[in-house]
Symmetry: C2
Subunit: 335 residues, 2 copies
């Protein structure tokens, strides 16, 4: 009889997660009760934010508990239903967790259409990362036509969409990414105006070169030294969107605060934190707009898909080594 493979948080990591951070267990496939339905999860989303959810610390969402299924967004198909709104065969997105089967009452789940876009894209450009990019750059970053825009983590699921949206809005866009291939991809495939390879370039010098008049919007996914380099080159009234800080998530010491934060004063600039959930009521509009751009060939989406729930740990670490391109997705079962 089929079992449900589930990935549990076994131990809170200190620094980078180790293989004993997780525990893979097999349990009975749960049965939906009245009002519930059963999903077979096909793909789960691997995101930097998940590292934060593993810390026992006040944040924008409760921490994952020990021996709980690791929280993750996922897409899959309804295979049994006692809920009138969801029918067997529906494809759905929601916080499935890292597991092969999940029962839910539907709260936080919505249907997705696999004929419009492949399922993994609903974890990326049409999912949380895409929404984060859309609201982050347009609303929080208050993007204006002609702005000089810098984005870090630019080859990632959020950064790549941020940069493309800024290009659509006729901005000058420079991306920061790790390695020659990613930088080439940003320019050749995504149409960025320039790229900075933080693994090989002098980031500060390159920023100065690319932004002779300063940065109008800096979209930060990484924190650390790169945030400081950007703060050192702000234009007047610049906006800094704090979306994440992947360079700091596995710190065992204190987070490195931005030493150059006083340039906020010099440049009368604003640094603003964002969490995508605040914009939930407008997800539909954003998805429609992004779909339109995709049809017009202005917006490209890239998913990097690995297979096997038993490979979760190694795949998850690619977020931090940078050894992936675009949206990182794990296929946990056959659809």
């Amino acid at each position: 009889m089929a079992q449900n493979k589930q990935l549990l948080l076994q131990k809170r990591p200190v620094g980078l997660p180790k293989s004993d951070t997780w525990k893979l267990v097999e349990t009975m496939i749960p049965e939906p009760k009245e009002g519930e339905f059963l999903i077979k999860c096909e793909y789960v989303s691997l995101d930097p934010a998940m590292r934060g959810w593993m810390n026992d610390k006040r944040s924008y969402i409760a921490p994952v508990q020990i021996d709980e299924v690791m929280r993750a967004g996922g897409v899959g198909k309804v295979i049994a239903s006692r809920n009138s709104k969801f029918t067997v065969g529906d494809s759905v997105y929601g916080i499935t967790g890292v597991q092969q089967y999940v029962v839910t009452d539907g709260k936080g789940f919505h249907k997705v259409d696999p004929s419009l876009a492949p399922l993994p894209m609903y974890l990326g450009t049409f999912g949380m990362p895409g929404m984060t990019a859309y609201f982050g750059i347009l609303k929080v970053g208050e993007l204006k036509e002609g702005d000089a825009v810098l984005v870090s983590g630019a080859a990632g699921a959020v950064g790549s969409v941020v940069g493309q949206i800024a290009k659509i809005k006729n901005c000058k866009v420079i991306g920061i990414a790790g390695g020659v291939d990613k930088c080439k991809y940003l320019i050749d495939t995504l149409g960025f105006d320039g790229a900075i390879d933080y693994k090989n370039d002098d980031v500060k010098a390159k920023i100065k070169e690319y932004f002779p008049k300063g940065i109008d919007v800096y979209f930060d996914n990484v924190g650390g030294e790169i945030l400081d380099a950007a703060l050192g080159r702000l234009a007047m009234h610049a906006r800094i969107v704090i979306c994440g800080a992947i360079s700091q998530y596995n710190n065992t010491d204190e987070v490195k605060g931005p030493s150059n934060y006083l340039s906020l004063l010099v440049s009368r600039a604003t640094m603003k934190g964002m969490v995508v959930f605040d914009h939930a009521k407008d997800y539909g509009k954003a998805a429609q707009q992004m779909g339109q751009w995709m049809l017009e060939g202005k917006l490209k989406s890239k998913e990097d898909i690995y297979e096997g729930i038993e490979n979760f740990h190694e795949t998850f670490l690619r977020l931090f080594s940078g050894d992936k391109m675009g949206k990182l997705v794990l296929k946990v079962s056959e659809g």
Copy 2:
């Protein structure tokens, strides 16, 4: 014959200024040319921002050059005039520099009325610090009635006005200051709801106690550990006004960046830098409003006046030791 005593920047300080940072010289009293007038400076303003002007670094204003008169705001009387807009006997405010006499064409100078307020008050509550407080808390901080407000450097020229304005706007106001006397002054004289003595209290614990629901507006004059403590206790959509960072101005190491800056994300908060000059066109309105509050007894002003241009160095250091109360002013000559 009378001479002009002038305080020159002799050497750029590393860390806290030393006595050889400055040089006191005597020169001939300058003669006004056509269109100019001569001011006898009576009081000069001593402000934390002056420390920044001494560094050879890009900022919101050019650095003071070596062997140049140290830049400072000042008030005095016109004693000779070949300018039709300024008459002998007029009291004026402007960037006089730390000296006893100055000739100017009037650019950046304006008349003040000594019958409305004593001259030193035009360096404090009716001068740059007061304007900084007014626009900083109301405009940059977007203060709303009922906000829970924390201000650091609260017994200083800016902080004391920030807190009083927030009280006028029916906010809960807690001030951070150094020492029992200053804390007592904040509560008993200025009407703050509470005070935290950073020299003796556990600042983090006290902030937690005073702000059970979090801080709506934090007005920061100090930076460093106190900024981090405030960031650790933000309410949703909090605003942090970055006005200064006195704890960092004499650093010989890198500025301490706010390690807790990711709470901007958790709390969807905004950190915004300000420079008062941006609000120059509205100074008149602000001064009128503050004058009105003063007449109504809602706004109190305190100046701490020391005497003698030869005592500039020791007096200036009081800004950093905290050994002063309210607006620090140096009397450089008899009016």
